[in-house]
Each structure stands twice: as structure tokens, then as C-alpha cells.
């Protein structure tokens, strides 16, 4: 019967459309990751920032404002490193470049690679913190027992919202030894 043949064909068409939808949504799940990262970095949501050096022009220093920048350091998981800021906080004027030092020591008797991940609170300050140099831009190899003093050069740009008088910059050390061994290249940014 042609009627039945028609129905069969319609069924098959429907079926292939639905299978396409399934495949599409599977892909969409993977797409959500990059999408989310892009949105967060564009808007500074979540205290995320581009992990790369920014250009800083010598501009106007706003000496009328003083903002406290606090430093927080954490080692993820088991404490493979000693990790701290050499000063807990610093008072800064927006528009001026500052250097602060961080200290880290590999407490294990094997070589390790660390990846520091920065985060800024409040999130709305994230787009205004400019770093020209940071140990978080690259993976940091540590020989067994090695210690390092690591500078961070940064500036708060004068467009920092007026309501913010304290910015917290936190770094978390992750063990990236496996990742480094696997891909001996720079981290994803």
C-alpha cells in the first residue's frame, strides 16, 4: 500500500531528524565549556581573567584614591609546596605599577611542576587588574626541594569602580606535573 509506504518514509525522516538533534546536543554539551569561558573572560564574571600579560601605558596616577590589595595563597590538595605572599597586602594608587613577591618551596624530594591559578574578588574588579608579569602565566617547574621568589607586576586601572576599596588577589597552586609531562607546552589560556 502506498499509504503504508508513505508512513514508513515519514517515520524514517523523523527518525533521522531526531538522531541529528541527539548528535547536535551531544556536541552542544562540549561547546558549553568554551562558551562559558568566553563569557566569563569577557565580563570578568567569576573573578576570572585572561591569564596573559597585558599592555600597560604609563597613564595618570590617581593619587586621590588608595585601594588595598590583599593576597591569598592556597595549595590545592595535599601540601606539596610551601606557598605564600611576602607581604599580606599592599596599599596602591590606581594607575601606578607595583611589584610584589611570592615565595614557593617544593617540600617534596622529587621534581614537580606547578600551575598557579589566579582569582580576583570582587568579580567586578577583575577587568581592572592588569598584570605585566606573573608566575601564573606559565607552568613553574621546581626541582626537588627548590625554592623560588616570584615577582608579580601589576596595576589597577583608574576605571576601577569607585565603590571598591579592597581587592583580593588569590593564587592557588595546582600540581601540573602530569599535564606538563604529557604536553610539554604552554597551558591553555
Amino acid at each position: 500500500m502506498t499509504d503504508e509506504g508513505n508512513q514508513q518514509q515519514e517515520k524514517r525522516q523523523h527518525l533521522s531528524r531526531l538522531l541529528l538533534l541527539v548528535a547536535g546536543m551531544f556536541g552542544f554539551g562540549f561547546l558549553l565549556g568554551p562558551l562559558y569561558t568566553a563569557i566569563c573572560e569577557a565580563t570578568g564574571v567569576n573573578g576570572r581573567m585572561k591569564v596573559e600579560a597585558s599592555q600597560v601605558q604609563a597613564g595618570v596616577v590617581d593619587t586621590s584614591r588608595t585601594v588595598t590589595v590583599e593576597f591569598v595563597t592556597t595549595v590545592n590538595g595535599s601540601p606539596l609546596w610551601k606557598f605564600s605572599a611576602e607581604q599580606p597586602s599592599i596599599k596602591v594608587h590606581p594607575g601606578q605599577l607595583y611589584t610584589v613577591n611570592f615565595y614557593a618551596k617544593n617540600t617534596q624530594n622529587m621534581d614537580l611542576v606547578a600551575q598557579a591559578v589566579p582569582n580576583i574578588a570582587p568579580g567586578s574588579a577583575a577587568p581592572h587588574l592588569r598584570k605585566t608579569e606573573c608566575f601564573c602565566f606559565n607552568q613553574q617547574p621546581f626541582k626537588a626541594g627548590e625554592e623560588k621568589h616570584m615577582p608579580v607586576k601589576f596595576m589597577l586601572d583608574p576605571a576601577l569602580p569607585k565603590s571598591i576599596d579592597t581587592v583580593t588577589l588569590s593564587y592557588t597552586f595546582f600540581d601540573a606535573t602530569h599535564l606538563a609531562a604529557q604536553s610539554a607546552t604552554k597551558p591553555r589560556s
Binding site: L15, F28, F30, N46, V51, T172, R188
Partner: protein, 546 residues
């Protein structure tokens, strides 16, 4: 009239002379939608039993503060496994079983569109759950990081981890095949003259549920695949060390997870919309608005996911957006509740067991909806997040919601399936005990949660003891009461207690639709030749539309 249709059904029988095979191979090889519906339902209730035992371990441990029966590690395994087994093994296959049995019979066609796929989809489930449950006996035990599988915690799962992921994949494939089957069947195989807006509401809600499944199960599959590669292949989707973000998993998971909770409630709406008109002896009030409400709930369910993540530190604008979008869902949900009440209004109601469960559904599900709206308020949720208040909320929508609807559906259709009436007095006992004990279990959890008792912790501060004692007593009572139901239903299946096959086609005098004009029990093959549904059997009357 009814007689003429008997001929139809019987005709199908002689013509093809293929009744069921005998023995175990019938069940393994079957492609018959009724057989598969039965298998799904038996599977579902087996999982309810296993998941129920796990919840009793949890409740026994929480009977008193301090640690008494299980160590915290096993406790965490129990909360995780209980949720996975109940959601993916109990509720979802339960609804798929009902769809298998009833969707073809309600739209007047002989089977689902892809019967072989249907068989395959079902038989994935026993493998998936054997694998998942067997992890309890592996070194390191079962997954214990919560059913939400958040990294980095879930990545610390031991040998059970790959089995968990693989089991989730299998469940996903099973759900997707089932959903595709339902969509193709409904869109291509309806009886002549049954336009979309004449379909019974259970068919409508399942159609929309199936689309939700097709849209979000692949996303879950993607999410757990990423977990797998993060653990074994050093990708960094969710690992901060490599540039990923663990919070991203939560976004992806809840993009699946919120539609998933509606997957577990929309078919329930369909069931209740079928049962209430039958026993109120009126047509459903506001059929069209029910359809549109279901569709808008499904749409909204895609844009509210972050209400599960208010505390991760989103910007204010996002918090506000997700708060308002979530509150908006209460509107179509409210439309449904009002329609059910309007259907009962001035109806000549009788209170057979399915009706009792359906009315309890309306009442208790609404309580869950109210606590949901409380949780939708961002600043309030900051305090309630991860407390027993959330546990109380989702159990009110899931147990007296989804599970009561499955129970109501089984009571309602079992006479049609087996040709034997269940015992009404046992049904009433079952209902009242269930209704009392379920409230005893979950109502006190609201108070414990508001006072600050955390979920997923095996111990608690002494001031929560009274509430937890009540909860535990309720849980054991509820579990035991279900045996009344199981024996009552098995009695109809196997003809125990002297039950005879002596039922009319239309078992409930107020019931309408294709399924009530075939004999009871429904013959193995129905509607091999399709014919239009008589007007009097329509579940809706569109005035002046024909």
C-alpha cells in the same frame, strides 16, 4: 458498539496467530509494547525496592546524632546511589513503562514505531544497573560524591569511577531510544482523525517529555565523558590546573539537571489529568491551557538551571535573571493545579484508590512547588542551599509527586492490563498509610533544614534529633506500606486471592478513550487495523471546531 470493536481486536489475533512465545525467551526477545511495558514496570519497582533499602540505611543512621550503624564513607555511597537508582532506575523507567503500555493504546495504533529498538533500549537497563550496583562490592566502594557528580570530588572515586560513567552512558542511550520511539510513534501513527489537540493529555505530556529527553540526555553524556577524559586522559575541562573550571561542570550538569526534574514530573501531570476527570465524571477543565502550560514549562526549564548554583558566585544580573525565570515557572504550574481543582469542582466525585493518589498528588506536589518558590529567591537560597530544606523540597515533588502518580497509574490501569480488579480495601489502606508516613518523613525535614541541618552528612547537632526521629519512623513506615501495594498488584497479575477475570471493557464508568473500548485484559495485539476514535470517547471537546 463495543462489541464491534471486540471483533477488531480478535480479528488481529487469528489473522497473525502470533500470541506471546512461551518461557523466558518471550521476555528476552519480545518487541511487543505491552510486554516491554510490563518489563519496564517490573524493573522500575525492583529499583524502587533497592533504592528504598538504601534510603533506610540513611534514615537508620540519622535516627540519632552521632555515628552508629555505618561509617561516613558508606553513608555517602548510600546517598549517592540512592539518588541515582531512584531517578534513573525507578522514576524514569516507570514512566517509560507506562508510555510503552498506554501511548499506543491511547492513540489507537498497534505498537511503538521501532519495536526492536524498544527491546534493545529496555535490555540496556539491567546491565547498566547491575554494573552500577556492583560497585558497592569493589575496593573503594561505590561512587560517593553525590548524584550530581561534581568534580573535583567525583574524580576521587576509586575503581567505581569508570563503571559509574559507563552506566550513565547506558542509561542515557536507553532513555534516548525510548524517547525517540515515543516521538515517532505519536507524530506518525495516530488513529485517523486524531489531531494533535485531540490527543489524551498523557500522550501530550509524554511527547513533550520525550523532546526534553532527546535534548538533554546527550548533554549529560557529554558532561560525564568530559569527566572521564579529565580523569584518564589528562584533559582539563574541569581541572583548574590546566585552565579548566570545576564550576563549568555545574553549569553543564544543571543544564541537563533542571529539564531532568521536569522529565520526572510532566508524565505525572498527564496521569493526573487522566485520572481526575474519570472519577470527577467531567471532562478536563482547560485542556488547551494544559497543553500550553506543559509546553511553556518545558521551554522555561532550559533557562533556569543556575538556581541550583546561586552560591557559586555569579554576578548580580545572573542571580536576578535566574531568580525571576524560576519564579516564572510557578505560573504555568499554578495553571495546572487550578485546572485540576476546577475539574473536580462540582463533579460527582468518587474516591477509588487511583483518585485518592491523584488528589494527594495535587495537594502534596503543590507543597513542593511552594518550597521551590522559596528556594528560587536568591537571597533566601543562600541560607537554604545544601540543607534539608532542599531535601524536603525535592522529595515532596518526587515522592508524593512523581512516585504517587506512577502508583495511581498502576492502580488505574491494572484492571485493563490484567483483567482482574485489585482489592479496593487494601488499596485504601495502602493510600492512607502512604499519605501519612510520607508526610511524617518529609515534613519535619523542612524545619530541620530551616534551622540549618546540612544534607549529605551522617551526623548532626543534637537539636535536630526530634525532627530526625520523626523522619526515620516515617521512612520505615512508608517502605513497609508499599508491600500492601506490591501484593495487591501481583494478586491481579497472577490471579491470587481468587481474583477472576470478569471485568467489562470500560472498567471505570467515567473513563474515556481507546483503551476502554478494547476488552479487559487488553489482547496481546490491539488496533492492528486503525479506526477513528468515536466522538464520545474524546478526552476533550473543542466546541464548534468540527
Amino acid at each position: 458498539m463495543a462489541h464491534a470493536h471486540h471483533d477488531h481486536a480478535d480479528h488481529g489475533h487469528d489473522d497473525h496467530a502470533h500470541g506471546p512465545d512461551k518461557g523466558i525467551m518471550r521476555w528476552i526477545k519480545t518487541t511487543n509494547h505491552k510486554d516491554l511495558g510490563t518489563l519496564y514496570l517490573f524493573f522500575s519497582f525492583t529499583m524502587f525496592f533497592i533504592g528504598g533499602l538504601m534510603s533506610l540505611v540513611i534514615r537508620a543512621e540519622l535516627f540519632h546524632p552521632g555515628l552508629q550503624f555505618v561509617d561516613p564513607e558508606l553513608f555517602n555511597q548510600m546517598t549517592t546511589m540512592h539518588a541515582l537508582v531512584m531517578i534513573f532506575g525507578g522514576v524514569m523507567p516507570g514512566f517509560v513503562g507506562l508510555a510503552n503500555w498506554m501511548v499506543p493504546m491511547m492513540i489507537g495504533c498497534s505498537d511503538l514505531a521501532l519495536p526492536r529498538v524498544n527491546n534493545w533500549g529496555f535490555w540496556l537497563l539491567p546491565f547498566a544497573f547491575t554494573m552500577l550496583i556492583s560497585t558497592l562490592f569493589l575496593p573503594g566502594g561505590a561512587p560517593a560524591g553525590g548524584w550530581t557528580m561534581y568534580p573535583p570530588l567525583v574524580l576521587q572515586t576509586g575503581d567505581a569511577f569508570p563503571l559509574l560513567i559507563f552506566a550513565v552512558h547506558l542509561m542515557g542511550i536507553s532513555s534516548i531510544t525510548g524517547a525517540i520511539n515515543v516521538v515517532v510513534t505519536i507524530l506518525n501513527m495516530r488513529a485517523p482523525g486524531m489531531s494533535l489537540l485531540k490527543m489524551p493529555l498523557f500522550v501530550w505530556t509524554w511527547l513533550i517529555t520525550a523532546y526534553l529527553l532527546i535534548a538533554v540526555m546527550p548533554v549529560l553524556a557529554g558532561a560525564v565523558t568530559m569527566l572521564l577524559t579529565d580523569k584518564y586522559f589528562h584533559t582539563s575541562f574541569f581541572s583548574a590546573a590546566g585552565g579548566g573550571d570545576p564550576v563549568m561542570f555545574q553549569h553543564i550538569f544543571w543544564f541537563f539537571g533542571h529539564p531532568e526534574v521536569y522529565i520526572m514530573i510532566l508524565p505525572a501531570f498527564g496521569i493526573v489529568s487522566t485520572i481526575i476527570p474519570t472519577f470527577a465524571r467531567k471532562t478536563l477543565f482547560g485542556y488547551d491551557s494544559m497543553v500550553y502550560a506543559t509546553a511553556s514549562i518545558a521551554f522555561l526549564s532550559f533557562i533556569v538551571w543556575a538556581h541550583h548554583m546561586f552560591t557559586v558566585g555569579m554576578p548580580l544580573a545572573a542571580e536576578l535573571f535566574f531568580m525571576f525565570a524560576t519564579m516564572l515557572i510557578a505560573v504555568p504550574t499554578g495553571v495546572k493545579v487550578c485546572n485540576w481543582m476546577a475539574t473536580m469542582w462540582r463533579g460527582s466525585m468518587t474516591f477509588e484508590t487511583p483518585m485518592l493518589f491523584a488528589i494527594a498528588f495535587v495537594f502534596l506536589f503543590t507543597i513542593g512547588g511552594f518550597s521551590g518558590v522559596m528556594l528560587a529567591l536568591t537571597p533566601v537560597d543562600f541560607q537554604y542551599q545544601d540543607t534539608y530544606f532542599v531535601v524536603a523540597h525535592f522529595h515532596y515533588v518526587l515522592v508524593p509527586g512523581a512516585v504517587f502518580s506512577i502508583i495511581a497509574a498502576v492502580y488505574y490501569w491494572i484492571p485493563k492490563w490484567t483483567g482482574r480488579m485489585y482489592s479496593e480495601s487494601a488499596g485504601k489502606w495502602h493510600f492512607w498509610l502512604s499519605a501519612i508516613f510520607i508526610n511524617l518523613t518529609f515534613f519535619p525535614q523542612h524545619f530541620a533544614g530551616l534551622a540549618g541541618m546540612q544534607r549529605r552528612v551522617p551526623d548532626y547537632a543534637v537539636q535536630f534529633t526530634d525532627m530526625n526521629v520523626l523522619s526515620t519512623v516515617g521512612a520505615f513506615g512508608f517502605f513497609l506500606a508499599q508491600f500492601i501495594f506490591i501484593f495487591n498488584m501481583l494478586g491481579s497479575c497472577y490471579g491470587w486471592f481468587g481474583r477472576q477475570r470478569n471485568l467489562p471493557d470500560r472498567v471505570w464508568e467515567g473513563a474515556k478513550g481507546f483503551e476502554w473500548i478494547v476488552p479487559s485484559p487488553a489482547p496481546y495485539h490491539t488496533f492492528e487495523d486503525q479506526y477513528p476514535l468515536p466522538d464520545a470517547e474524546l478526552s476533550v471537546h473543542h466546541d464548534a471546531k468540527h
